[in-house]
Amino acid sequence: MAIFNLKKREIECKVVYYGPGRCGKTTNLEYVFKSYKKQVTGEMVSINTEGDRTLFFDFLPIGLGKIKGCDIRVQLYTVPGQVKYSSTRKLVLRGVDGIVFVADSLEVRREKNMISLKDLQSNLKEYGKSIFKVPLIMQYNKRDLADEGIPLMSIEQMDRDLNRQLKVPSFPGSAVKGTGVGVTLKTCLMETLKSLQREFKWAK
C-alpha cells in the first residue's frame, strides 16, 4: 500500500528488488543510482548483510506525471536473501507496491532462481499478497557473460522455468553494463502505478 503524505503532497510507493544471492540486485540499484543521479533524492543507504548488501534510496521518476496532483516518490530497496534476516525482510516487504525479480542466467544457478521465486511467493503470502496480483517484472540478468563463454540458460528456458504461470513482462539484462536496467525499472514503475490506479479506481 502506497503511503500518502498529505503534508508534502506526495505519494510514496515501494519497489523491491528480489532474487537469489549474488544475482545482481545490488548492481541493478547501483547502476540506477549512478545513472539517474538527478532523480535520486538523498543518499544511498547500504547495509552489509551476510553474503549480500541491502540497499535503499529514494527515487523520483520523471515523466510518469502526477496522481491527483501529488508527486510520486519511489523507494527502491533490495532485500537480503538469507533466511535469518527475517525482520529486515519483513520491514522491506511490508506494503510493497512493485517487485523486480532479478534472475541469474548462469546455468548453475537455475535451481537457486526457482527457490528464490518460491520464497518470494511465500513471503508475500505472509503479508496477505498474491504473487499473481502484485506488479512483478522479471529480469534475466548477466546476459553479457555469454561473450565470455560461460554457459547461460536461454531466455526461452528461463521463461519456461520462472514465468510460465506468472506471465509477467520480462527483460534480458546486464546490470554490470547497464543494459536492461532502465527498461526493467521503468516497466515496473508503470505497472506499479497502473495497479495503484486500479486499486483506487482513479482510472475510469
Binding site: I3, N5, K7, E12, G42, E43, V45, I47, T49, E50, T54, F56, Q75, P80, K84, Y85, S86, S87, T88, L91, V92, R94
Partner: protein, 402 residues
C-alpha cells in the same frame, strides 16, 4: 493520558522501525519514549523534523542506544511533541538506521528483550538481579488507591508467615521480595514502581498467610489498594476466570518456593520426571491452545543448558498451555509440560477468558499483568539459581581436589 502525547501504542503491534518511518514521513519533532517491563529504564529517542538526532537507553547514548532499542520487540511507546534541546549525536539517515537496526537484530548483535526469549536471557539474569533487575509495573491507576504509606530503608512491609490481606502498589521506590530460611535470607525478586505487593490470594481467602517477606530498599512510598473493591470485582467474575487466576497465583507461589528449594539443593528432577510424558514441548509454537487439567498431575519444566529445571507442579483444575493475552514466559515458548500417566486434560476456549480479561478494571489488569511479568522473571531466576548452584558445587569439588 497526558495531553502532549501525540501517538502511543504497543511495540508488539507497531515496531520501532515502523514508528521511525511514520514519524519521518510526518516530519515530527519530539521525544519517543519506549517502555519495556523487562528493562530497568525507559528508552528515549529524540526527533527533529522526523530525523532521530539522539537516543538514550540506560547509560548508553547516541546511535548505539538507538540500535539497542530495536531489540525491544515488546512494550509500549509514547511520542510527545516538544522542542528538542538535546545535542545532535546521530547523523545517519533515517532509513539507514532502520535497516541497520533490523540487520543487527537479525544478526543477533542486538539482543531481543522480552518474555518470549526469557530462557536465553536466564544466563545473565543473575548478574542483572544484583545490579538492576527491577520488575516494574504499568502506570498506577489512582482510582483504586485509598491511602498512601511510607516505609524507610530496610523496613519490612510484610513478613512471611504473618496474616494479612492488604495489597499495595509501589508508587515510588524499590522493594525486595525475600524468603527467610534457616540458613538466612534468600532474595527472590526486586520490584519497583507500579508493581504490586501481596498476591491475589489475599482476597481469595480470609486471613491469608503471607508467602514471602517484602523489604523496602531505600525509602518507599506505597499506595494501599481498595481491596474491598477488588474483591467485589473478583466475585463478579466467571468461575472459569477465577479458577484461571487462582491457578496463576499457585504457580507464582510455587516458583517462589522453588528458588528456596534449589537454593537448598534438594530437588530430584529425574525423580519428578520419571513416568511422565511430554504434552507440550518447549519452543513448539505451532499449537496455541489452552488446557485444563482434569485428572492426574503435570509439571512445568524448562530445558536449560544445565539440564531440565522443574518450575512448578500442576494439579486438578490448573490451567496450562498458551495464554493469548498474557506473557508468562513459560510454555510453550519457555517451558514444556510433562504429564503423569493417568492424566486427563480438556481444551479450553481462551477467547472467553480473553474477553473477560479485557473487561477487567485497569488496576486488576495491572495486577494480573504484573504477576505474569514476575512469573516470567522468577522462572528465569529459578533457572539461574540452579546454574549458579552447579557452579558453586563445581568450585567446591575443584578445591577439594587441590
Amino acid at each position: 493520558m497526558n495531553e502532549s502525547v501525540a501517538l502511543s501504542g504497543s511495540l508488539g503491534f507497531l515496531s520501532l522501525g515502523d514508528i521511525i518511518q511514520l514519524l519521518g514521513s510526518s516530519g515530527s519533532t519530539g521525544v519517543l519514549r519506549l517502555i519495556n517491563r523487562y528493562a530497568p529504564d525507559p528508552g528515549f529517542i529524540y526527533f527533529i523534523e522526523g530525523n532521530p538526532i539522539n537516543a538514550q537507553n540506560g547509560d548508553v547514548e547516541g546511535i548505539d542506544a538507538l540500535y539497542s532499542l530495536f531489540g525491544w520487540v515488546n512494550g509500549s511507546f509514547e511520542f510527545t511533541r516538544e522542542a528538542i534541546l538535546a545535542d545532535k549525536r546521530i547523523n545517519k539517515s533515517r532509513m539507514g538506521i532502520i535497516l541497520e537496526g533490523m540487520k543487527l537484530l537479525d544478526d543477533g548483535q542486538v539482543k531481543k528483550i522480552g518474555p518470549a526469549n526469557a530462557a536465553e536471557k536466564a544466563a545473565d539474569m543473575k548478574r542483572l538481579l544484583s545490579k538492576s533487575a527491577i520488575v516494574k509495573g504499568p502506570l498506577v491507576d489512582y482510582m483504586y488507591v485509598v491511602d498512601e504509606e511510607d516505609f524507610f530503608d530496610g523496613e519490612h512491609i510484610v513478613e512471611e508467615g504473618k496474616h494479612g490481606s492488604w495489597i499495595w502498589v509501589i508508587l515510588e521506590g524499590v522493594v525486595d521480595i525475600v524468603k527467610e530460611v534457616d540458613s538466612g535470607t534468600i532474595p527472590i525478586i526486586r520490584i519497583g514502581d507500579g508493581s504490586f505487593i501481596g498476591s491475589m490470594a489475599s482476597f481469595l481467602l480470609q486471613g491469608h498467610i503471607r508467602a514471602a517477606t517484602a523489604v523496602a530498599v531505600g525509602n518507599v512510598q506505597l499506595g494501599v489498594l481498595d481491596s474491598q473493591r477488588l474483591a467485589q470485582e473478583y466475585a463478579g467474575m466467571s468461575l472459569e476466570f477465577r479458577t484461571f487466576l487462582t491457578s496463576l497465583d499457585k504457580r507464582m507461589k510455587q516458583l517462589t518456593d522453588r528458588i528456596v528449594e534449589y537454593h537448598d539443593g534438594n530437588v530430584q528432577t529425574a525423580e519428578i520426571l520419571k513416568d511422565k510424558k511430554a504434552i507440550i514441548r518447549q519452543g513448539n509454537n505451532e499449537e496455541r491452545q489452552l488446557y485444563v487439567l482434569k485428572q492426574g498431575r503435570a509439571s512445568v519444566v524448562r530445558h536449560t543448558e544445565n539440564g531440565p529445571v522443574v518450575l512448578c507442579h500442576l494439579y486438578k483444575g490448573d490451567f496450562f498451555g498458551d495464554v493469548p493475552f498474557l506473557h508468562l514466559g513459560l510454555e510453550p515458548e519457555g517451558a514444556s509440560i510433562f504429564g503423569s500417566e493417568n492424566i486427563k486434560i480438556a481444551k479450553i476456549e481462551a477467547v472467553s477468558l480473553q474477553k473477560e480479561y479485557n473487561r477487567l478494571s485497569t488496576t486488576f489488569k495491572n495486577i494480573v499483568d504484573n504477576m505474569a511479568t514476575c512469573m516470567s522473571v522468577t522462572a528465569d531466576i529459578v533457572c539461574s539459581s540452579l546454574a549458579s548452584k552447579k557452579e558453586v558445587t563445581a568450585d567446591k569439588n575443584g578445591r577439594q581436589e587441590t
